[in-house]
């Protein structure tokens, strides 16, 4: 049976892992390669490196970070943040990324999804959607959650799939960094609308939050950062908790 994936996100700025609360107030959480090694030993299923500064200088540092992490890890590695063009995606792939995650660039230029899917395959193209509940809809935001994109998350996910995206990385801006649990309503709405996998992100605080997002939220994978970085729980403890509740996971 297909396992539910647990994905660790390394938010990286200038080669160091940081994690924000509601996209602001960043604090440092360590060396990316060291963290990646620890997660891999604990049985993480996949890693995402998210470059949260994405200036030109930082992007070169990012290439080095990708290479350092990819050299010793033989699990899927996705890279996002500041990927605006085919060339940016190519640089990430050449450095060792298996998948690139597009957010603002996909909203500004949806054809980029198709260009990258044609070049690297749909499995290599993740469309990241940052969304916030507004009344009875889920509003999409660009530029690290600062800019309303005037799109509905469910519609945008459908369009991204049609254009060749292989996965959706769905972040709840309301929950991000709060540890109040995933937004299961948002996640289930998007997961029902597409046949590609949906990775839920934002709000993981307790082990039961993951149980909830894999059942009520219909997520195919769940992504978390601070819950692992701060060593509040290990990947292994989380997976044992999920398995005890009959959620299929990879234990190794």
């Amino acid at each position: 049976m297909l396992s539910k994936r647990i994905i660790a996100c390394l938010d990286v700025r200038n080669g160091q892992v940081v994690k924000g609360v509601n996209f602001e107030g960043l604090r440092s959480a360590g060396d990316p390669a060291a963290l990646a090694r620890r997660y891999n030993a604990e049985g993480i299923d996949e890693l995402v490196i998210l470059d949260i500064t994405a200036t030109i200088e930082a992007r070169q540092a990012l290439g080095d970070t990708i290479r350092r992490v990819a050299r010793e890890l033989f699990i899927p590695l996705a890279v996002g943040g500041g990927i605006r063009s085919e060339a940016d995606a190519g640089a990430a792939v050449d450095a060792g990324a298996d998948k690139v995650s597009l957010n603002t660039a996909a909203l500004a230029n949806p054809a980029l999804i198709t260009t990258l899917a044609d070049r690297y395959g749909s499995q290599a193209v993740v469309v990241a959607i940052d969304a916030k509940t507004e009344g009875d809809r889920f509003a999409v935001f660009a530029r690290s959650g600062r800019h309303a994109a005037d799109r509905d998350a469910v519609d945008w996910a459908r369009e991204a799939e049609a254009r060749g995206a292989g996965e959706i990385l769905l972040t709840s801006i309301d929950r991000d960094g709060t540890k109040r649990g995933f937004d299961c309503e948002l996640t289930a709405a998007v997961s029902r609308a597409v046949s590609i996998p949906v990775i839920a992100s934002g709000g993981a605080g307790t082990l039961d939050d993951f149980v909830e997002v894999f059942t009520a939220g219909r997520a195919d994978a769940a992504l978390a950062a601070s819950i692992f970085h701060d060593a509040e729980t290990s990947v292994r403890a989380l997976k044992e908790h999920l398995r005890a509740r009959r959620i299929p996971v990879r234990l190794c």
Partner: protein, 203 residues
């Protein structure tokens, strides 16, 4: 290092080779990406990777196919990964006009999305049906990383199956020709063990 000791990794424009290269390098293998079929002459083993559309394998027809079959005829091991495994069969519904290599019988077909999501993306179990050298040291129910929509049918040559809506061939092997539907280069220690087994077959 001479090409005689290298594993040939075939680049036919179907996806990126970086990950497979890296994994083989981590296991100490020399890897050669041949620019032309003649460069395959001294390879001690051949790997056909690939993701994406079966139609891309059309580029392997003719001289590449001849060179690969010549190596197989000399007893050199061949490993197909993902789309590369599907190419070892006779055909695929994904591109009915493009013939496969036909070393294994059967037609590749799309997974049904009735009760499960397709594409099949993520870690899933290997159900090992019978012992094979490519799975040496790999425990039954080990998990490996898949990302695909089309599959090869389970036949007598199938060494392991995986269930996603229905059972399909996850590992196939006959003699020194093997295929894996998943990505050993992305499947952690289990995947590295499978690549080690292939390198052992290549001597």
């Amino acid at each position: 290092m001479s090409a005689a000791s290298a594993i040939a990794l075939i680049d036919y424009g179907a996806g990126n080779l970086t990950s497979v290269r890296k994994a083989l390098a981590a296991l100490g293998a020399d890897v050669l990406v041949p620019a032309q079929p003649a460069d395959l002459a001294d390879a001690r083993g051949v790997i056909v990777p690939g993701v994406g559309h079966f139609g891309a394998t059309a580029r392997l027809q003719g001289a590449w196919t001849d060179a690969i079959l010549a190596r197989v005829g000399e007893g050199r091991p061949l490993l197909g990964i993902c789309l590369g495994m599907q190419w070892l069969y006779e055909s695929s519904d994904e591109a009915p006009d493009v013939p496969g290599l036909g070393l294994f019988s059967g037609n590749c077909y799309k997974l049904r999305a009735d009760a499960v999501k397709v594409p099949h993306v993520g870690w899933n179990d290997l159900h090992i049906d019978h012992p094979s050298s490519i799975l040496d040291g790999v425990a039954d129910r080990s998990q490996v990383y898949f990302t695909h929509s089309y599959v090869a049918p389970a036949t007598n040559d199938t060494a392991a199956t995986t269930d996603h809506g229905a059972r399909f061939a996850a590992v196939v092997q006959r003699g020194h020709v093997a295929g894996v539907q998943f990505h050993p280069e992305k499947s952690g220690e289990v995947g590295l063990q499978i690549l080690r087994n292939f390198l052992a077959m290549a001597g």
